[in-house]
């Protein structure tokens, strides 16, 4: 099926052929031909954002909640540079995006033309791959290749930079069926010998733990189903990174909670004391490992990852298996069954006994209050009142993000969208818009902080334009809470520039955008206010005024090991830690 058409028409036709129903973007001089081709288009719906960073995060939210490739369309120069943060975010969290950028005409490239920038040069380091299309003949191939590269192997963002004259030029369109990538053919099946070895190690383990990450989510819902099956078969405990929440249900019996810097006591101690660690689609990030030379010192480590460069990058493992988590887990389940493996039940019973001891520390506990809303309590009520609905949660970055990860129980994959690797404040609202576009009837809530939300507040306008009933649930403590907490821990409580003196009235702000504002300061009124938010069929900003100087615990301080956690104060015999003294000089250098 080859047809003659302009480059701009090729872009829209390729989107159709790739099954894209929604794109996020912002027009400008260098993409006008593509916008013209989109004019009145039936099958590809364009969502007009208010800032190109918002387009990128919206495409991420769309991709993460739907499993499809997210698409954004922006103009040259500032359009492209504004998208850079979102592209980097997608690179670090392995989210498949295709970003189409306009470029000045080819004869002007290099002349410092109006709204010219070296888009492929700038985005080379923050994309999985990028293209500058110099000839319309190359455009169809590149368009289809970009979708292939974005979604295969370890997913990531791909930029296609298209000069305006190439958009106007006429050429022959070729469909996706003839596109075979000549070099990029990532391995998805794991080596069977290694998988067999892994299963044998699992059968012999006395203190095993599954440590799972975003790779399980990226491998699709079937990977989560297989993971649950394997956990059920083996009865091993399981913990997950921030990125992997939902792949195993928080209500599951074997669930230890999240691990890492703000992970649970039981998850981190199980990691520290295990004799077999099975890492599935997780990358030993510094937020997870804490002090490296004290990381899980006595364990044999198995690492399953689709990206060979992830294996042995940070932590030396004993058995690396390169492959897609779904394929490898499927082989593991099959081998475990067919070879009649069984776990060491006596050893496991003893291991679970130790874990139950750690669980008794109740590391997510907090001292609740009747006079002021505790942020943890707010998240727990939000969970309780939304868990029986079709709910998706996005977040911004900071304390509220960690509290959401700790206290909102995720039962399914693709329900939790958060900026993990890059830690991008301003992620949550545009991501929620992307999620709501993919799931029009779902309840989509952006758990936010009052500082983060202001970074992409303008996207409220987008939500209203498309009648997207997203809910912004702000835990408002007037501080950049995590910055303030670190200043308390590291800098003698000198709260340098972490207090926002002139916050807007969020209720009036919601109303100014045409949405609904709700404020709640009284714990006794919280439930009713949350229910009112849920029942409002419009975008809502919920200003939840919470305890100002609450710290996020538990916490592994910088430079410390998994078994050197700080626990919350006032809930057990742990006593109040001297926060100023817990991090040594070396730890202060860390982020």
């Amino acid at each position: 099926m080859s047809r003659q058409m302009t480059g701009a028409e090729m872009v829209v036709t390729a989107l159709e052929d790739q099954g894209v129903d929604t794109i996020f973007g912002y027009p400008g001089g260098a993409v006008l031909p593509i916008y013209d081709a989109l004019f009145g288009h039936q099958s590809v719906k364009h969502v007009l954002v208010r800032h190109e960073q918002g387009a990128g995060h919206a495409a991420e939210g769309y991709a993460r909640s739907s499993g499809k490739v997210g698409v954004l369309l922006v103009t040259s120069g500032p359009g492209a540079t504004n998208a850079v943060t979102a592209l980097t975010d997608a690179l670090l969290d392995s989210i498949p995006l295709v970003c189409i950028t306009g470029q000045v005409p080819t004869h002007l490239i290099g002349s410092d033309a109006f709204q010219e920038c070296d888009t492929t040069g700038i985005t080379r380091h923050c994309t999985k791959h990028n293209y500058l299309v110099r000839r319309v003949e190359d455009l169809p191939r590149i368009l289809h290749e970009a979708f292939w590269v974005a979604s295969h192997g370890r997913p990531g963002p791909v930029v296609i930079d298209i000069p305006k004259d190439v958009q106007f030029a006429t050429g022959t369109y070729v469909g996706p069926q003839n596109i075979v990538h000549k070099t990029y053919q990532p391995r998805v099946k794991g080596e069977m010998d290694r998988i067999r070895h892994a299963v044998a190690l699992m059968a012999a383990a006395k203190r095993p733990v599954f440590y799972t990450g975003g790779g399980v989510i990226n491998a699709g819902p079937e990977a989560s189903a297989l993971l649950r099956e394997l956990v059920g078969l083996t009865n091993f405990p399981i913990t997950s990174t921030l990125m992997g929440l939902g792949s195993y249900p928080a209500s599951g019996e074997n669930w230890l909670g999240m691990l890492g810097m703000h992970g649970t006591y039981e998850a981190n101690h199980a990691m520290h004391d295990c004799d077999l660690m099975i890492a599935v689609g997780a990358r030993f990030d510094d937020r997870i490992t804490g002090r490296l030379d004290a990381f899980s010192p006595g364990s044999t480590k198995i690492h399953i990852d689709i990206d060979p460069s992830s294996i042995n990058k940070v932590v030396k493992v004993d058995l690396g298996i390169v492959g897609d988590c779904a394929f490898v887990l499927e082989d593991m389940v099959r081998l475990w069954r067919s070879e009649g493996h069984g776990a060491d039940r006596a050893a496991l019973a003893e291991w679970w006994g130790r874990i139950d001891g750690w669980r008794k520390r109740n590391s997510l506990g907090f001292a609740n209050s009747t006079s002021v809303i505790k942020p943890q309590h707010a998240i727990r009520r939000l969970h309780e009142l939304t868990k029986d609905r079709d709910t998706y949660i996005t977040t911004e970055v900071g304390q509220h993000q960690m509290w959401a990860a700790q206290h909102y129980g995720f039962e399914k994959p693709n329900r939790w969208m958060t900026s993990g690797g890059l830690g991008t404040m301003g992620y949550g609202l545009p991501a929620a818009i992307g999620v709501q576009m993919a799931h029009p009837d779902a309840l989509v809530i952006d758990v936010a902080g009052e500082a983060s939300i202001l970074m992409n507040m303008q996207e409220m306008s987008t939500a209203l334009q498309y009648r997207l009933p997203v809910k912004i649930f702000i835990l408002n403590n007037s501080y950049m809470g995590m910055v303030r907490q670190w200043q308390e821990l590291l800098h003698g409580s000198r709260y340098s520039e972490s207090y926002s003196e002139a916050l807007p009235d969020f209720v009036k702000l919601a109303e100014a955008y045409g949405g609904v504002g709700i404020r709640c300061e009284d714990p006794a009124e919280l439930d009713a206010a949350i229910l009112r938010m849920i029942d409002t069929p419009k975008a809502v900003i919920f200003d939840c005024v919470v305890e100002r100087e609450e710290n996020c615990f538990p916490m592994i301080p910088s430079g410390k090991a998994h078994n050197e956690m700080l626990l919350p104060t006032g809930i057990d015999d742990w006593g109040a830690p001297d926060l100023g003294a817990v991090i040594d000089e070396k730890g202060k250098m860390l982020v």
Binding site: R124, H129, L132, K182, T183, R291, D293, D307, I311, L590
Partner: protein, 187 residues
């Protein structure tokens, strides 16, 4: 702009310092890539972005019809870092194949240098005699200078350049290392 920005770079982060357990070694890598715009920037950017060393880098198209180029990189790092470099290179979309020639064992590496020497009388004759001993060729001469072409392992060229210093070394141009494995098999 975001919540927690990195502290100043020195002293080095304990996250990474905990990893340094073995000594740095030099490795020669051959990388076969699609000869497309930006491919060299991608490879070089990977090294600078992740803090790896490049001691020498050579690139030229080797298969014109297939638009393939071969990049030879001389790098140094711990064995763990070298393994990472190889995997990171393999991850680049236009990269066909990466071979660690040093890890593979037997290979030949050569570099070409042009060395300009200025002098008269005995110094000039001494330069010529030394170049003959190193199997150099004279590619340009004036009554007060010679330019020698020299091919060999980088250490041989280093040695020759040092010998030229006292007899009137002006400048050196080197190609960087090209390398290929011994035996009948390709990379």
């Amino acid at each position: 702009m975001n919540a927690l920005t990195p502290a100043p770079a020195s002293p080095p982060s304990p996250y990474s310092s905990a990893l340094v357990t073995s000594k740095a070694e030099s490795h020669t890598l051959s990388v076969l890539v699609d000869n497309e715009p930006g491919v060299l920037a991608r490879v070089v950017g990977l090294f600078s972005g992740r803090g790896y060393n490049i001691e020498s880098l050579t690139v030229a198209e080797v298969a014109h019809a297939d638009h393939q180029s071969r990049i030879t990189i001389l790098t140094s790092g711990t064995p763990e870092a070298i393994e990472q470099i190889r995997h990171q290179l393999e991850r680049l979309v236009p990269v066909h194949r990466v071979t660690d020639l040093t890890a593979q064992g037997n290979f030949v590496e050569r570099e070409l240098a042009m060395v300009k020497v200025r002098g008269r009388g005995e110094n000039r004759m001494e330069a010529l005699r030394l170049s003959e001993a190193f199997r150099g060729r004279v590619v340009d001469a004036t009554t007060e200078s010679f330019t020698f072409e020299l091919t060999g392992a980088p250490s041989k060229i280093d040695h020759f350049v040092e010998l030229m210093r006292p007899v009137g070394l002006v400048e050196v141009s080197r190609t960087g290392v090209a390398a290929i494995s011994r035996g009948p098999d390709g990379m």
